[in-house]
Structure formats: C-alpha cells, structure tokens
C-alpha cells in the first residue's frame, strides 16, 4: 500500500478493501441522497477512530475503555470553537489545535498511569475515568451544552447552500464536506499504516509480545507506550473533529457514551486486532449493520414464534453483533482479516 509497504496480503481482502475504497470515494455519485452519504461519512471517521483504537489494543496491547474520551475531545473542540467563535476556518483550526493538545496531554497522564498498575487494574480504571468524563461533559452544560450538546454552522464553503456545480452532477457544500472528511480519513489511515510498519511500530509489537524481552533488549517501554498512547489519542481526536464537521453537532451521546466505546471495541475485534485493515472492515460492517440490518431483521421478526420476534427485533442488531464478537475472540483471534489472509 502507498507509503507503508503493508499490503493487504490476501486476494479477497484486497478486493474487499478496494470495493470499500471505491464505494467511499465515489459515494456522492454512486449513492444519491443524504441518507447514503451520511452512512458513508460515518464509515470514514469511524475507520479512523477504530484504527486508532487498534493501534492501542492490537499493536500496543493496551485495553482502555476511555478511548471515546479523545473522540469526544476532538468533537467538542471543533464544535465548541465553531459555536463560540463563529463559523470560520480559523475556528476549526483553533478548535482542532486545542483538542489535540488536550488529548495528547491526557493521553500522557493515562499512559504513565498504565505503567504503574497491572493491565486489568488499568482497564478498570479507564472504565471509571471514561464514565466520569462523560458525566462531567453532561454536567457542565453552560460550557458544553449538557445532554443536548451543541449544534453549529460550518464555514460557507461547507454549507449545503453553497453550490459548486449544477451539472453533470450536483455538487454542493455537503459534498465538499464529505470529501473533506473522506480525504482526511484516508490520509490519517495511511499515516497510521505507516507508523505501525515503521521500526517504531515493530518495537511496539515486540513489546506487546514479550515485555521483558523487549526491555532486556534495551527498549524503554515507557517511552514507546507513551508515544503510542499519544498517537492513538491524537488520531481519535481528529476523528472527533471530522464527526463534528459532518454532523454539524457535538454531544455526549454521540461521542462519549459507553455504547460508542463498545462499538469501536466490536469493530476492532471482529475486523481483526493488530491489522489496521481490520478497522476498515469492522467499521464498514458495523455501520452498515446498524443502518441496514434493521430492515433485514424486520423480515425475520414477523415470524410467529413468541420470543423469536423479540430477538430479531431490528433494534437488537447489537445482540447478534455481540455474539459475533464473543465468537471472534474465541475462534477468530485475528478477526475477519485473519480469516481472509488464511494465516497458518
């Protein structure tokens, strides 16, 4: 692949990735209508978010339940800046910069903590911290807009009313926003791919495999882990910025909820931990399932057996994904990507 020398390794996988890439690149033209574009944009920034989590979980071996905190910081950073300073590119820049600084600083603190305590302790603590942060965001309503969040406007070029082309296809501000999200996501993903395939990335994997040996070989685990934490947090924050730009809204339910945390966990594990491509597959499957599985399940739901309709109720798509998740952990430790690559 471009820049990184980490090819998909597997014909089916390469094919799937190409299809997804093409679909996303040409979405405004292939799938007319706002609903489809929404799905596409959501896939884009969730790919970045999931990939950043894979960097942490799959490559560095750290289980954290506070990752959505960084996503939220990004979303709120851009969102609050646009809300408070007006819809301009400089607002976006300021908000993004502030979000990055805060995210990296927090990541450093959490990263240092992770080294003082055992992995399981750490997971528990991040759960508590993540919950607390979410509640804090809802509580500081004068600043963050509380439970309801904030809606805001984008700079002129990104607004729906801004017409660039009328024919052969309608290209307006929304489409421009979409491509901003798409290309940013693409670049971020490729950058992450580059990082994990660099010498730095290899050391991370060595640390994940056998900490003692890595340390014995002279690598300062503290430094590597901290950097990995910071990179993951920064990427998540940027994903948050993108989500804010697309949704023109930021709020706790969308960014900081434990549901979102579980979602990206599912994406990474089902897609394949430690592969980054897994994040692409996982995010795509998840968002598509969330949107479209409902209609599929509605069909099954009209059976006559008592409990079955409830289990197949469209809103219960998460139940089945949860089952798939558990099965993945046991039987497909490298997720779908692993199966497609036919690891021996």
């Amino acid at each position: 692949m471009i820049l990184s020398g980490d090819p998909p390794r597997g014909r089916t996988l390469a094919l799937l990735l190409t299809v997804i890439f093409a679909g996303l690149a040409l979405a405004p033209f292939l799938f007319p209508g706002m609903a489809a574009l929404n799905v596409a944009a959501k896939i884009c920034y969730f790919v970045v978010l999931a990939a950043s989590y894979d960097l942490l979980l799959g490559y560095t071996g750290i289980v954290s339940f506070a990752h959505t905190m960084f996503f939220g910081i990004g979303g709120y950073g851009a969102g609050l800046a646009l809300y408070n300073f007006g819809p301009s590119w400089s607002s976006i820049a300021v908000g993004t910069a502030a979000a990055l600084v805060l995210a990296v600083a927090l990541a450093l603190v959490i990263g240092l903590l992770s080294l003082r305590v055992r992995a399981i302790f750490f997971a528990m603590i991040t759960l508590a911290v993540g919950s607390a942060f979410a509640i804090l965001a809802s509580q500081l309503s004068s600043f963050t807009g509380g439970e309801d969040g904030r809606t805001f406007r984008l700079p002129e070029a990104l607004r729906p009313g801004f017409q660039v082309l009328n024919s052969p296809v309608a290209v307006n501000g929304r489409v421009l926003t979409y491509y901003l999200v798409f290309f940013s996501s693409l670049i971020l993903f490729l950058l992450m791919l580059r990082v994990v395939n660099s010498p730095f990335g290899r050391v991370l994997q060595a640390i994940r495999e056998n900490e003692f040996r890595a340390e014995a070989l002279g690598y300062r685990i503290v430094i590597y882990r901290s950097i990995a934490n910071c990179l993951a947090a920064a990427a998540a924050a940027l994903a948050g910025v993108l989500s804010a730009l697309w949704l023109r809204y930021t709020g706790p339910a969308v960014t900081l909820s434990f549901d979102t945390m579980l979602d990206i966990l599912l994406m990474v594990v089902i897609g394949g931990m430690g592969t980054l491509y897994g994040a692409v597959l996982g995010a795509t499957i998840f968002v598509l399932a969330e949107t479209y599985m409902q209609s599929l399940m509605a069909v099954v739901s009209h059976a006559s057996l008592p409990l079955l309709p409830r289990l197949f109720d469209p809103d219960r798509w998460l139940l089945w994904l949860g089952v798939l998740f558990v099965l993945s952990v046991y039987f497909f430790p490298f997720g779908i990507v692993g199966r497609l690559r036919k690891r021996h």
């Binding site: 305590v117 603590i125 508590a128 966990l265 289990l311």
Partner: protein
Amino acid sequence: MSAGKTFKLPARRRDIAPLLLVPLLALAALPLIGSFSTWVTLTLAGVAMGMIIFITASGLTLVFGLMDVLNFGHGAFISIGAYAAIVLVPLVSGLMQADSIAANLGALMALIAIAMLVTGVLGYAFERIIVMPVYGQPLKQILVTVGGMIVAEQLIIAIFGPVQIVLPLPTAFRGSLVFGDVAVERYRLIAVAVGLVIFAAMLLVLNRTRLGLLIRAGVENGEMVEALGYHIRRLFVGVFVAGSALAGLGGVMWGFYREALTPRMGMDVMVLAFIVVVIGGLGSVGGCFIGALLVAVTANYAGFLAPKLALGSNILLMALILLWRSRGLYPVTRR
C-alpha cells in the same frame, strides 16, 4: 495448646489506619454540610448505598483475588438479579402490599432467593462456557466478558423492553422513622441490616471454616494450595457462582433502592464496584467493605455539596487512595 510461657510475642500489627477513614470522612463533612439532620440523612444514605455496593463488589474481589479473573460481565448479573426478581413480584404482591415488616421481609427474602438462584446458575454456565477457556489470558478475558455483558444487556432489552420498569417498595418499608429533627428512611435501615448480615457471614466463612481457609490461602498462593493437595480449580467455580449470586442479591437491593429497573443498571453499579475493588485491594473482603462505604458516603456528600462532581469525586477518592497505598487499602500479600 501451649502452656503458660511468659515471653514477649511481637505485637500483632493491626493495620487500623484504613478503618478510621470512614469516621474521619464523616466528621470532616459535618462542618461542611452544616445541618446535623441533613448530615445524618446523607451519611445513612451513604452507608446504605455502600452496603449494597459492598454486596455486589465482594464477589468481584474474591473472584479476582482467587482466580485472577476480572469479570467485566459482572454488571450483567446485577441486572439479571433485579429483573429475575421483578418477574416474581406479582406472585408475592400480597406479601409486599401488607403493612407488616415481617410479611415484607418474607417477600424480600423470596425475591432475593430467586434472584440468587438464577444468577448463581447463570454464573456457573458463564464460568464454564465463557470464562474457563480464557484462564490466564487477561486481554481475552476482558474482551470476552465485555461481550457477555453486551449480549446479556441486549437479551434483557429483548425480553423486558428498553424502558425503565418501576419497582415500588413494599408497604412497610416505605417512609421514614423520625427522631426529633432527623428522618431516617426505613428501607435504608433494612439495606444496612442486610449488608451487615452478609458481611458477617462472609467473615465467618472466611475465618472460621476450612473452605474459607482455602480461599484465603488460594488468594495468596494458589499453586501452593494445590501442592498441599487441594483441587483449587473446583473451588474457583464455587466462588464464581457465589460471586454471581451475590451480584444478583445486590441487584435486587439496588432495584428497590432506586425503585426502578433499567437494562443499564448493572453496568452503572459495576463501575462503582470496580472503583470499590480497586480502592479496597483486590482479594480483600475487608478492604472492599471499607471501600464501599467510602465510595458511597463520598458520593452522597459530593452530591449534596457539589452535585456536578459526584462521580468525579469517586475518581478523585480512588486516585488519593492509590497515592497513599498503591495496591489498595488492604492488599493481599502475594506470592
């Protein structure tokens, strides 16, 4: 055993500092709160809530201390306990509506029994099917138990619906006893009583029975217990089942405390239980007890003094305790 020999034994070093934390906290809060009656109400609320959290967290800490297994699905058992009980409520509605403490207690006991039975059995299944295959692999353990929790929560929603279900208190448990200026809620007293009974029972089993001896030794050094000839793995399942049953019990008590059930309720309590277990020291029942009281009392004081910081106050508390004792209040001496 030993005849009266007169020599100086080294003083039994009792670690009492943590025992003073709760009283000190309560005393410190009194001037901040100002009104004595409010202070009593808040403190009692905290103690009652703390007892319930202790009940749910105690199983978690023992399972972790003994088996090195952290069950992120523990919250599911809390929810399941509450929901299992509510299925039974129509059957005992007569007892619950009677205005007699005895009848109400009877109903409560019945609900608790059902909840513990259901969560105990499910705990057994959960341990054998989901947890056992990933013994010794912390990453997979966390993932798999989180997955279990997701599935359980979704099943609850599938069966009971996503909306909150109201669970009214039995008649004689409602209201408060009034002592002069101070109002003391009846149900909170009941919660405290139940909590103390459970705590006493646990201490009794741990300190006076061979089973308890095995558990305490196993928490310290499971391998050595095996070398002494005990099949400690069989004990694991038992402790896991007990922990799940206790979670179910806690779920029922919590349901009545809040007078409502939601599918996420177990998760919410679980976060608090995690904080408690970390504060108390993994594997220590005594530490868990003190930790639970600390967390609940702090939450109640903070809820009154600075409502926006309620959950944050617990994180702060956890951070402070870890700074003082980095492995919790009463860490178990490991290997």
